[in-house]
């Protein structure tokens, strides 16, 4: 592991984008930053600027208008980057599967590394997802579920 890689794992910066969900996961992503869960103690900081981010946290099913914004945002995040789809609707479309204006899942637009299901996903699950992404960045194989 190079020095840069090692340093990166100590401070993962997250950019969050809502692709059109119900807000439930968005407020849980925010709740993960606040005192009860406090992800900042692991060096994880939520940042608005995609150019400084390592991890993209995406919530909600993508719609036709959002597609382009998401694509642009993905291009702006520097490599190496991890994409986390938070919430059932970001994973597959979920409850919105038969809505006419959605594509169904962010993986239709950008490649996704970690899926965090749940409606809404709990902060603990989101933190777990970020830890998985961290391991993937470090090049470790994810643990098998028993």
């Amino acid at each position: 592991m190079t020095l840069v890689q090692k340093a990166r794992l100590k401070s993962l910066w997250v950019v969050h984008f809502d692709c059109g969900g119900c807000n439930g996961c968005d407020i849980e992503v925010l709740a993960a930053l606040t005192p009860k869960f406090d992800v900042e103690r692991f060096g994880i900081v939520n940042i608005g600027d995609p150019k400084q981010a390592d991890i993209m946290v995406l919530t909600g099913p993508v719609n036709h208008k959002n597609k382009r914004v998401l694509r642009d945002l993905y291009e702006e995040v520097p490599d190496p980057k991890m994409v986390i789809a938070v919430g059932t609707c970001a994973c597959t479309g979920g409850i919105f599967h038969n809505c006419p204006n959605i594509l169904g899942g962010v993986n239709k637009v950008v490649p996704v590394d970690v899926y965090v299901p749940g409606c809404a996903a709990r902060p603990e699950q989101i933190i777990d997802g970020v830890v998985l992404a961290m391991k993937k960045l470090a090049g470790e194989a994810p643990e098998e579920d028993e």
Partner: protein, 362 residues
């Protein structure tokens, strides 16, 4: 021209506002919405009308309880179902708990948009009290899912009842602890008093709803119509007549206290009885219901045709009518005031967008 959004640190949700500025002053604003449009109203026609309640709760995660209840009231009206009194009390309690959660969320985000980072953290810590109550009720932090057509699916037992009362007292103490910052703090007043002016006349004329219109001194609140059990709880709408961001913040702070009182009063008056009334037949005819969400009036219009599917369901949520007042509030203010003024209407894009589909310019 300065674009604000769709992805912006202040906004958790995508909306684009294009500001035309003359040096530091805003001269014109163009909104560009449609980033969260999903087509829920169409999906509601495709689903079983009983299952739609879960889809309605996912229109917006923050006001999910009240969305579910409003839809249930619509179907009860269409099928002629009478809700038992205990269920009506429980619905009111949970609606007020949801309002508390939403107002605490807003107060925190508003504090952050002014720059009070630690106040934001403190308020969100107290918000966890409410979320833990929600979790204790139904096992989920955000989507409560306790409403079913004809009543509620969960009960408040003796232990939970005591916990509700105890936590409401605890929350009141916590709100007392930081509430004075919103009232008195110099930096907060600098950023809000006289900013984002919406005169009473314009508020009525532009059709503002919820805390926005009540912050302009108009006592318009759907809860005073007495749906649910608000009629039995001596409900009085909160108003402030400053017409600025400060008044809107004060309305929400006072409503936080009011919701705590309403929950306690409703729990005291809770009587024994059945939880759910079986609804028979399929929805038929035309009906509309209105209810008050944390952000303002929510309106459901439904057409049933005697089958398992609804013919049409139209939902009008509070943020959309608040966008025209927002545009007026912004004009003439500094660029630095944009985040606080935009936040002062409590924008909730997930609610707003179901029919408005703005075609991308080629």
């Amino acid at each position: 021209m300065i674009p604000f959004g769709p992805q912006h640190p202040v906004l958790p949700e995508p909306i684009q506002l294009q500001f035309y500025v003359d040096e530091e002053k805003i001269v014109d604003v163009l909104p560009n919405i449609g980033y969260v449009h999903r087509g829920i109203e169409r999906a509601m026609e495709l689903n079983d009308y009983r299952r739609n309640i879960y889809l309605c709760e996912r229109i917006c995660g923050i006001c999910n309880v009240i969305h579910g209840q409003t839809y249930a009231r619509l179907i009860e009206k269409l099928t002629g179902t009478e809700v038992p009194i205990r269920a009506r009390y429980l619905r009111t309690i949970w609606a007020e708990v949801a309002r508390l959660q939403s107002h605490l969320l807003w107060l925190g985000l508003f504090a952050e948009s002014i720059g009070f980072e630690s106040l934001f953290m403190k308020i969100w810590r107290d918000r966890e009290i409410v979320l833990e109550l929600t979790e204790a009720t139904n096992g989920h932090r955000i989507h409560m899912g306790t409403t079913v057509i004809g009543g509620v699916s969960k009960d408040l037992d003796e232990r939970l009842r005591d916990r509700y009362l105890g936590d409401m007292d605890r929350l009141r103490k916590e709100v007392d602890d930081w509430g004075h910052v919103f009232v008195k703090d110099v930096a907060f007043r600098e950023k809000t008093v006289g900013k984002g002016i919406l005169p009473k006349k314009d508020a009525v004329h532009l059709g503002a709803v919820g805390p926005v219109i009540r912050g302009s001194g108009v006592p318009r609140d759907m809860r005073s119509n007495g749906y649910g059990v608000y009629g039995e709880l001596d409900f009085e709408p909160v108003t402030h007549d400053g017409c600025d961001s400060y008044s809107r913040a004060m309305v929400r702070l006072d409503e936080t206290y009011q919701s705590i009182d309403l929950v306690k009063r409703a729990i005291d008056q809770l009587s024994e009885g059945p939880l759910v009334e079986k609804n028979e037949g399929f929805p038929d005819g035309v009906a509309m219901v209105r209810s008050e969400q944390p952000r303002g009036e929510c309106f459901y219009y439904g057409v049933g045709n005697g089958t398992i599917h609804l013919e049409r369901c139209r939902i009008r949520t509070p943020t959309l009518p608040n966008i025209p007042p927002l545009l007026q509030m912004l004009i003439g203010h500094d660029v630095a005031d944009i985040p606080t003024i935009v936040h002062s209407i409590d924008p909730c894009m997930s609610c707003t967008e179901r029919v408005t589909y703005v075609e991308e310019a080629a």
